[in-house]
Symmetry: C2
Subunit: 137 residues, 2 copies
Amino acid sequence: MTFTLVSGLAQKDFVCDLPFCRVLFEDNADYPWIFLVPKKNNVRNMLDLTSEERLTLMRETEIAEKAMNNLFHPTQTNVAMIGNKTPQLHVHVICRFEGDPCWPGTVWGVPGQPYSAEEKEKNIQLIKKEILALCQK
Amino acid sequence: MTFTLVSGLAQKDFVCDLPFCRVLFEDNADYPWIFLVPKKNNVRNMLDLTSEERLTLMRETEIAEKAMNNLFHPTQTNVAMIGNKTPQLHVHVICRFEGDPCWPGTVWGVPGQPYSAEEKEKNIQLIKKEILALCQK
């Protein structure tokens, strides 16, 4: 399956590939934050998926949420499909903590702190390992 | 099935009941905006659903999105589960338009204009009718 990422997503760090989605990492040290991007072209939002593809997306989102929850134990998990600025379907999975910089507001449009190169790589590897472990279950 | 809405959701207007979710209406005339709330107690986010319930939620979300898309023809549809302030799982389905008051930013935390009583009732009835029609297909 070949697919193309729009520029806003192509610059994100790669975590791993699931059967239907590519998992990407947001370089914002304020929140553990990943994206799931269906590996299908010309998908602007979920209305461009078939019903079966939606369910597959939800199954993979479940794995991603569980992995993030297992690793980071957030107060709340925000899962969202917005795409006003980046019109290629991507599911945000964001760990939120009481007292984090935007709590209890939403995080979109608020600049964050980047990770150090070492911390970024450590987090990407942790997330990759946990997602792939949950895929084996 | 008995369930209780937290106060932040109990004050929203009722649209209709689907097998798994209650559909509620947001009184914000800036955006056509509804919620799906699973009719199950003690569900803070999707991690509190079984895998099968998640898929049911996605099937009903698909119906809600299609109904809103058919009625309002938005530029983009925002679908989100946040719940930082209202810790009972509710899926936002929001029609967004290029040039709307928050475009291309997100709408949460931004006060909107209420509908007139007549416009609100008209919209609720339109949405109810379209959702129930799609459920028959």
